[in-house]
Amino acid sequence: MEIMTLSWGIRSRAGGFPRAVAHVATAVLAVTAMLAALWAGPLAAASADTRPRAAVQSPAPAPAPVKFYIVPPPGHGPADSLFTIAAKTLGDGSQFMKIFNLNKGRLQPNGARLTNPRLIEPGWILQLPADAAGPGVHFGPLPGVTAPVSHRLSGPAGTGSAAMISGAVLAFLAAGLAFRLIRRRAGPTRRRRPAHARAPGRAGRAPRPGLQHDRDRSIAPTSAPAPPGRVIGSPAGDRERATGPGARGHQVPHRPAGQPTVPADPFRAQQSVRLANRTVPDAVHPAAGISQQAPTVAAAPRQACEGDAAQPRPALMEMRAELDQVAACVAGALQSTMTPMTTPAARNTTHPMARRTTKPVSLPGIPRPAPAEPVPRPAKPAAKPAGRPRQVRAMRLAVLAMTIPIVFGLMSATGELALHGYGFFVFRSAGTGATQQGSSGPAPSQPPAAHHPRRAGSGQADPQGARHRQDQAGRDP
């Protein structure tokens, strides 16, 4: 945090500081931070090692005897695994997780630790469950395992490791900060393009509200106080840049009036504004020079390219005329197949194809006859755009699925007509055209009852063979 604060201080004063001094100061700070971090670990470890030696060296109680297994070196047979050890000692290989849980993370003689149940190494001492038995099972105090001796300052392992890790993290952070600071000074080529100049790669992501530009350090939050002079973030500044010598040919989108703004950190805003005010004038002058030199620099290649292009142009024009003539001949031939010819002689004299047989059409350098009148092509009928083959197949399948049942129904109806006759087929159950009783269809045992009470004296014949009429007596209870 202190380094960061110092760096911010340097950056904030960069307007008056020589830039090289700022670079050197940043680099010195970074190196100092790294060295301090590297030394912080051992020193912290040493300072933490002030506990009474007696407490460290107090004799530990004798460990209880347990059953353990020493992984042998690989022999001729398959190498040991926790599964085989469990099978040998516990009688069931599937209980290998018991062994794994007993030894998980414990330091082994070679300095490694058991972390993967699939990976054990020769010489490892594996504690076994109490019910283990069989060859290779030892019983007694678990042999002590000492950690590999470190060449660093001795101290409690946990404290030293934590200090080392914290030192390394600090060093990493300091290095990253220094790198970032230096990179920001590196110039506009490394700088990320502002949001309005980037292509909408992420599907038109909207810029953050309240900011004129996105992710660019030359942003002035709209809520920040406008410093005197030219301000990039202000609309006036944007217009000036867009129309000035360094304009990129695009307009900066302005925030519409009334859009809510996001309160920004005024300190960072001021830093951004100062940085922008310092960098933009430096960039404007080179850009103006480049824009002035660009026409003169580009003129020579342009002339060369135009000269190169002018050489094949006549030949291309000739080729185009040839192709036009050939197209006219083909069109005439096509039309001749559709229109009846009068006489062969007339064809030989009028058809362009016939002229081609007698006289070569064109050769380079030889004056050609005037191109024949273009024969109007026969008007093509407006073809419907063909659908995709997959969709056509799907449509045919759907139509088939509708047609097959209908054809089946027609065949079935034809069969019924042949079996029962026309009277049966045109049977009508109700309505004005109800067929007479006995013609066809189901004849109800009793006259059907109506939903609505029948009008007395209507004189209408009861429909015979009503499909859906049954006697009221036929109701279910």
């Binding site: 799907a394 309505g431 859906h468």
Partner: protein, 301 residues
């Protein structure tokens, strides 16, 4: 079967609309209101969703009415009233399905358009159930084939179901992608089903004002026409057909553009009243027969 009447509000270029400068699509106030969120018991749901759901529930009524008879295998009930309940219900559903597009034309609201697909799906299910139950339980002679295609009106009904069932199968988004530009023409076969329903009812009941299946000798209102399914369908189809004609649609669009929406409503008020009158009889018949079927006390006629 979805989007059966999609041809009305269509991509088909309408020459008069080009000349008349189609009015800019302004969002209807009702549509905007339907898009608002409705907070209910800690959850947020659109009003449109709730309304469409509520309006879609009655479509299941025919299947619900017959469910008890089917579950209890009550062949008597199924034999007597399955065609009345399921057939009348399918007719009502077809009319409802075909009503959505004219309603869009008239009101310029779109929040109820999803109902068209839902009603179409339930229509196909209801018609298929009607065909299956008729083939199994009805008392016609000729076996299963005779019960399905033995008579002319049965053949017309079977053709309707034969068209409806594939349309039901392709009424999903995957089939829409699968068929591409052919999906819509296939769904327009609903109009063929509409015509087949006329044929079916004409062959079943015939023309005339006597001995209608639903009202032989007329009912309590002494008006057999209102109880005859063929005339019910004709009366309900008349405004639906009229509002699908291009000149009428152009006239409606012109009036709406001119801000004379009341004139449109007034012009179609008689047809809407006719539609409502006959549709009320259809619904009345469906509820009457359906409730009796659910109570396993079917009423004939």
């Amino acid at each position: 079967m979805a989007n059966p009447a999609a041809g009305a509000r269509a991509r088909r270029p309408d020459p008069a609309e080009h000349t008349l400068e189609r009015p800019p699509k302004t969002r209807n106030r009702v549509d905007a209101w339907m898009e608002q969120d409705l907070k209910f018991a800690g959850s947020v749901i659109k009003r449109k969703t709730v309304t469409v759901f509520v309006l879609g529930i009655p479509a299941l009524a025919p299947l619900f009415f017959m469910s008890r008879a089917v579950i209890e295998l009550n062949s008597s009930t199924m034999n007597q009233v399955e065609a009345d309940v399921l057939g009348t219900g399918a007719m009502a559903l077809l009319i409802l399905t075909l009503t959505v597009t004219p309603m869009v034309t008239l009101t310029r609201q779109h929040w109820f358009v999803p109902l068209r697909k839902w009603y179409g799906i339930v229509l196909a299910c209801t018609a298929t159930a009607d065909a299956i139950l008729a083939a199994i339980t009805s008392s016609f002679t000729g076996g299963v084939l005779g019960r399905l295609t033995g008579h002319t009106f049965l053949l017309a009904g079977f053709a309707m179901v034969s068209l409806l069932f594939p349309l039901l199968l392709i009424s999903n988004t995957s089939a829409q992608r699968w068929l591409g530009k052919y999906w819509k023409p296939l769904q327009k076969l609903t109009y063929a089903i509409w015509g087949l329903l006329f044929v079916h009812l004409a062959l079943l009941e015939g023309f005339g004002f006597q001995n209608g299946t639903n009202g032989p000798g007329s009912g309590f209102d002494h008006n057999p026409v209102l109880h005859q399914r063929l005339y019910q369908l004709t009366a309900c189809s008349l405004p639906l057909l009229l509002l699908r004609l291009s000149p009428v649609r152009r006239w409606v669009a012109r009036q709406q553009k001119a801000g004379r929406e009341r004139a449109v409503y007034l012009a179609f008020l008689p047809l809407a009243a006719l539609y409502a009158l006959f549709f009320a009889y259809i619904v009345n018949e469906e509820i009457f027969k359906g409730v009796s079927a659910f109570r396993l006390q079917p009423v004939n006629g």
